[in-house]
Structures are given as structure tokens and as C-alpha cells.
Symmetry: C2
Subunit: 367 residues, 2 copies
Amino acid sequence: MWRWLLAAVLAAAPMIASAQLTQAKTMIVKADEDRTARFLPVHVGGKVRKEDLGYSYQWPGVYFETRFKGVSISMSFEDGANNFNVIIDGKPVMILRKPGATTINVNIHAGGPHTIRLEKRSETQYATGRFYGFRGVAASPEPNRARQIEFIGDSLTVGYGNTSAFTQCTPDEIFETTDAQEGFGPLTAKHFNADYQINAFSGLGMVRNYDGREHAKYRLPMLYPRALFDDPTPAVQPDWHPQIIVIRIGDNDFSTPVRVDESWGTAEAMAADYQKTYAAFIRNVRAANPTAQILMLYPADDSDYAVNTQKVFEALKASGMARLDSMSLPPMAETGCDGHPNIHDDAKDADALISYFDAHPDDWQGK
Amino acid sequence: MWRWLLAAVLAAAPMIASAQLTQAKTMIVKADEDRTARFLPVHVGGKVRKEDLGYSYQWPGVYFETRFKGVSISMSFEDGANNFNVIIDGKPVMILRKPGATTINVNIHAGGPHTIRLEKRSETQYATGRFYGFRGVAASPEPNRARQIEFIGDSLTVGYGNTSAFTQCTPDEIFETTDAQEGFGPLTAKHFNADYQINAFSGLGMVRNYDGREHAKYRLPMLYPRALFDDPTPAVQPDWHPQIIVIRIGDNDFSTPVRVDESWGTAEAMAADYQKTYAAFIRNVRAANPTAQILMLYPADDSDYAVNTQKVFEALKASGMARLDSMSLPPMAETGCDGHPNIHDDAKDADALISYFDAHPDDWQGK
């Protein structure tokens, strides 16, 4: 095998004569050497659906990791809908754009073992992607991360258009400039070396989606338990026991006036429904995560969103719910698509959360 | 070979039982099928230095293209300094970040023939990269593009920080957010299906670099003939005969006040040197490109940059130089790094140039 490949390389580059080409030859031959490649064990972050081969996914911020020996690793997809960051040994090496039915193979010089991490960068509200897996030569996996943190929210948690150079974006520009991995959630989680889930969907509110009309068939409490948005089966995730759950929802409920033709009829009725539904949602989250610290976020202003979210928090505290806190976030530059936070805003929000958890180390429950 | 790979795939996925996996198996086996891969003929855009194997390059906007059959193509690098766009069959499929000593192999389903295009996205003023080439199964190449257009300039032509979400950038952020391929030059060239060169270097002026201090060892007229900035050998480019040459230089000469400790002593002396040197530079460009249309760009304002550039143009016209025109460009949003144009500004400048050439079709000299 090895000899055959060397012959092929020599045939391909008949001009090879000088010593300076030795390195290039070595590289190219090595590129094909690992023919013992197998599908490797994968560590998965985020809510996905396990398939017979690989994983299907829709939620933002999903990631896949493995560890391998040698100089070659491949990734196989059936995903024409997503963009991904590919990170090898901690270094971002490529952004994959809608790979489709593709295998990408990366050959590197150093002998390893290496880590590879595939991060879903994009938001796909109405499309499902499939990652078949990594192929390579297995190395002993990294120990699991002890810390787990979950984020629940809307576009502010997705990282919607956060890398855009302008605010007026086409749908395609929103797609291309969204990097969920630079949202405040992943930034916070990575700081604490925690696994994370980004259970967020742009445009959704707690009871009322953006403008009272967007994504009519979906509600956040409906989607939250699911691995895939149109599959009502709850996600199977026996290893997911987050110490911390951060919730940032309500911007869409309150960002446009309630119209008379909406079911609530008045802003007051909608706000009452928001408070009731949000409180019930948190009680469900608490029931599923009895020991988790829950942190509710809201903006540091006097908006209806902020005021009503504080009321939800106060009512839950008054009812005796423990391990529940709230925190306000300062105003942002909002130069991303449609006036969304840009990645500097995301970093500021992450800094605020990092400071908060630094001041509350017990929230990690000894992890 | 084929049978061996199938066995490896089956061994790697012992759970394979259902019909739904057929497509995945087929894909993965096909991924390794093209073992007749050779280095393919490459079409090169931009000033590069041909090496025994592959190409070295520094100028922005460089690109490499080939055409291949089958389902597999690989790219081999020795380049830890650049980011690249990879475009297959016209579709951007990945952004490669500082690949280093790496081979990247992409396997695709459809049988082809396919085109692949590797575009240097980043600016590397003090680093050289090497692309060894594409390996795959050769297909008959595309016919050469009849049109050729050349751009000469500074950061405004580089696309410096043009995809940034903010104006205050670190050097690393400038690097990562620069996409020379979204500069006004490549956008204009692509519109006309023209090959292009981006002979531009951020911070350089015609006689005075930014702030009178940046890149002290370089001047644009010195670098212009070279393939690599520190190699005085003129670029070898027998096939480069641009019909159009667009020049946009002078912003750095005039953007900061001349200090008394600079060699000119006064702004007036520097402006006189600018006019003289710029005129001589254009005469040299004309001598090397006797029939090319030369178009000088300047901002639509009354800045010293605009005023002095118009004087250069008027003097050359008065001296009888033919096939020379000038054009002013409107103000920009300048939300890229350090107040540079963003990609919307680049697109507007490209639109202005496209309108200009639509109104001057003879500039393409029948091509």
C-alpha cells in the first residue's frame, strides 16, 4: 500500500529532483497512510438524535468531538443546510459551508494524538443535518468534562447574525453571519471548560413569537424537550445533568405591540400569560433538574420584557423555589443583523456571566 | 482496493443492517476510490512565484483553479499564514484557516467533471505561503478567460477588515475579517468573468506610507513588479496582458499630516513628490502595457488625496497619454476594521466600476 502510494506520488510529480521537495513528498505520502481508519467514538454536545449511523440535529451550538492518532482524520456528512467550525488541537482550521453529501479528510504532520471538534455554527430552523462521524485511528478519549451548563433562549442566545459587518441583512446573510459558537453561551461554557447545550430558536417567545406571527407552529416550551423540532419524541440524553441552566426569553413576546386580532387581545393579557407560562416552564425545568442552579436573564432597562421577567422571578422566589437567581445584562451595540448583538456584545454578556459564576462558585456543585 | 475499503467500512460500522444506510456506505466507499489521482494542471490568478512543486505567494486575491473528474479532490499546503475560500462548482464549500503543512481532501457525490477554485482570502505582508497543488483525476480544463483586469492599490483595494462586525480590531481580528475576494476588484472582475490581479498592500502610499512610518522598507512602486515582496526578481507572467488596469493609491500619503522630521519637511513638498512619482509610475505601467486602459480612482471629495490625484491625471492627459481615464467614488459607511470599507461598501464601489465599464465596453478591447 505504502509503496504503491509512493509510486503514485513520484509519477504525479516527475520533476522531483531536489532535496527541497522531500518534505512535500513525505507529507503527501503520509496523507494516505492511515488505512486502518474506523468510525471513532464521538462525544456529543447539545440535543441531537442518534441514528443508526451518526446523528441528526437542528438546535444551534451542537458539537462533536473525538481524539485520534496518526496524521489523518475524516468527517462524513449528509448536510446541505449547516455551516461548521472545525477545530483541531484547539486551533480553528476551517469553516465548512453546507457540506452536503461529502467526506472531508484532513491530513496533518504532527503525530498526535490529536483532538478534533466539529461545531455547528449556523441556525437551521426548518432543516435537519446529519453527521455520520469521524473516521481515523482511535486514541484514548479525553475524560468527560465534569461541568455542564445549559442555555435556553431566542436569537440573543443563538448568536443571530452576530458576525455581520452591517445591520441590514438578507436571509442568506443572516445565515452566513450567524456563529452560535461565538454566542455568550458557548463563550461562557468554554471559559469554565463545561459541556453546553444551546436550546434556543430565533424569533420564539415564551407565549408570543416575534410580531405575534413568526414560526406559527412552534412555541419554545413545545420545542424545548425535543431533539428535532418536528419529532415530538423527547431527546434521549441520559448523560445530561447540567449544574447550571441559564434562561433568556421574552424579548420577542414584548418587542412589538400586541394587536387586537391576537388571541390575548391586550398587552396586559399577554403579559399575564407570559408570567404564568414562564413560571410553569421554570417549574418543569426544575422538576427535571432538581439540583440545578437556574439563572434568569433580562435587560437592564425598564422594558416590559424586563419588568415582566422580574415579576416571574419574584413570584417563583416568593413560592419558595430554591437555587433560582436573576441577573440583568447591560445595553449592547447591536450592530449585528437586524440590530442584534455582535460578537463583541456576546463577549460582554459572557464576561458578565463569568463574573457572576466566579462570585457564585457553588453553582457548579463541586464540579 | 475497492473490496478492501468496503470491508473496512463494514467493520467500522458493525451495526449496518437497514437499507437506509446504503447511501452512507456508498458515499464512504466512493470517497477512497480515486487512486489514480495526480497533480493537476493549475490556472493561477495573481502574481505568484512558481516553484518546482506548486506556488509561493504573498499578494492578496491570488487564486488557483483546476477541473477534475470523479468524486475526490485534494489540496496540499505548506502555509500557516493564510486563510482561503474553497469553491467547488461555483459553490463556496469551506474557509480554510492557516492550513499549515496539510492535505485537505474533499469527496463529493456527483460525478463531475467539477471545477475547484482556491482563493487567498487574507493579507500577508510579512509571510509567504505555499500551495503544492490539487490532486485528482484530470478533466479537460476550462477555456482561459479572455478578459484580464488588474487592480493596484492599498488597504481599500485589499479588502482590509471588510467583513468585521466592528471597527476596533486587533491585528488578529483584522487578519481574520479580511476577505480580499470580496473587495471591489474581485467583485468587478467576477462580474465580467475576467481574470484579475490584486496588486495591493495595506498601509502603502505612492511616496509616503501610512503616518509616514509604516512598512518602512517597502514602497508600492518597489513591490509592484515582484512576485514576492522580499525577492527583487520581477514576477514571471507571460500570459498576463490586462485590457484594464485600475489604480487607487494615495489615501495613505495624505491621511495624516506630514511631520517636520519626514524627508519632505512640508505637506507641499510631499504632494509635489506624490504627483511626480505617481505620474512616473503610470508611465511605467503604460510602457509595460501599451494598449491597456488605465483608470485612476479617487474619492468624491475635496481631500488632498482627491485634489492631488486629479492633478496627476490632468498632467498625464495634457502630456497626451491616451487610454487613461479617472473616476471618483462616493463616500462609504466605513464600518470595517479601523474605519475601512465593509463588504457593502466594496459592493457599491464594484457597482460603480461595473456601470463605468458597461458604459465603456471598448475598454475590454474586443474581449
